[in-house]
């Protein structure tokens, strides 16, 4: 497990990547590298620290790019609270385990956004949820796939450690 400071710095770098770098290169897909980083961290990081990391990622997103302070924090907090409770014994491949956690985190985050808009009286939310959650899932599963490819070639040790953790 990485030291506390490095994990927080890593999340900051990932949030900067998703708000200031990736939207310039691929504006049509909502990539969320901070979410991928948190999914990887969720295997070895203790619960309280994982939730603190999720809140930190949310705070950064809200302050730098968001409209409502607290919304991304809430979405990520709830998402990773659920992720931490998931038992992954029934999956034997690291990609499947990560993908499962990612799907849960993305869906809970999207549902939080939809609920927020529902409270504010927005209409057509079901259609918006379908499109936005679909786009977000597609983009982030693609990013997870790329991260796995990179790990396979550059950091086999980490992947091996992850597999041991899952099994």
């Amino acid at each position: 497990m990485l030291p506390f400071f490095l994990q927080f710095a890593g999340v900051l770098a990932a949030v900067l990547l998703q708000g200031s770098v990736l939207p310039v290169i691929v504006p049509w897909l909502p990539f969320n590298p901070a979410l991928i980083l948190l999914v990887f961290a969720s295997f070895k990081t203790p619960r309280n620290r994982l939730l603190a990391l999720a809140l930190w990622a949310g705070l950064l997103q809200d302050v730098m790019y968001g409209e409502v302070l607290g919304l991304s924090m809430l979405g990520l907090y709830l998402g990773f609270m659920a992720v931490h409770e998931i038992k992954t014994e029934f999956v034997d491949h690291p990609f499947t385990a990560c993908a499962l956690r990612l799907i849960i985190a993305v869906l809970i985050q999207e549902l939080t956004y939809a609920f927020f808009f529902y409270i504010r009286g927005a209409t057509g939310l079901f259609a918006a949820l379908q499109v936005n959650a679909g786009k977000s899932l597609l983009a982030n599963l693609l990013l997870l796939g790329l991260a796995f490819l990179w790990l396979r070639f550059r950091n086999k040790k980490y992947l091996k450690g992850l597999m041991e953790e899952i099994s």
Partner: protein, 278 residues
Amino acid sequence: MLNMHPQRQRAVNAILVVILLSILMSLSTNSPARIQSLQNLFAQALYPFQFGASWVTGTVTSGWEFVVDVRNVFQENQRLKVLVEKYTGIEHQLTEVRLANRRLRELLAFQEEAQFSVTPAQVIGRNPSSWFSTITIDRGSFHGIQVDMPVVNHQGLVGKVIQVSTYSSKVQLIISSESGTSGIVQRTRDNGVVIGLSIPVGYCRITRLPVGSEVELGDLIISSDLTGVFPRGLVIGRVVEVDIDYVTLERSALIKPEVDFERLEEVLVITNYERKLD
């Protein structure tokens, strides 16, 4: 201290966090001024990182664009030479027309509208969530930016400033589902309400058009100063679909904005527009 079972302690902690975040969200949406200083503090601390990331991206992408441009520079040069010759002739004609126009305006005592004073700004971030259409720009209260100032670019209306910190501000785009303003169909002069849509993403809709409105595909929609938020005459977009409610006979139209929101890099903040409502 209460001696609670760890499971129960976890649940209590989670509920407390959710309640605190809900209060924070409520303050942020209903009375943003109360948490402005806190948000400002964080935004200022994070600004150097944000600016640095944006600068690196800008440098890399412009470097790449330069490489691509160099490949086509010779053909482009030849084509432009032909265009310059053509436009030199047109320029002379235009100067004549411009002078004639000025004379006629003076004759008619035409009051030219005051020119806007603008502050150029660089886009340094975008909300990565598909639910929100917000951008972050590198100009804040230090540069004279205030909440509700209109934001434009050479293509048309971009949106309005919704949050200001010392060195950066957030701009709500007109395609945001939270955005709403008044608009005019340029050809027919019909007034309506332009709202951003959550589906389809990136489009707006003009509603509340008069029953007899003759809005057509391709009509240009411009901003109106009725709501006092935006100046009159800024281009919003073109009509791509016209809908009729057969019960109320009210017409509405889907608008494709003229501004390319996916490739927004520089914007202009209008700093001297006096809102009608103020």
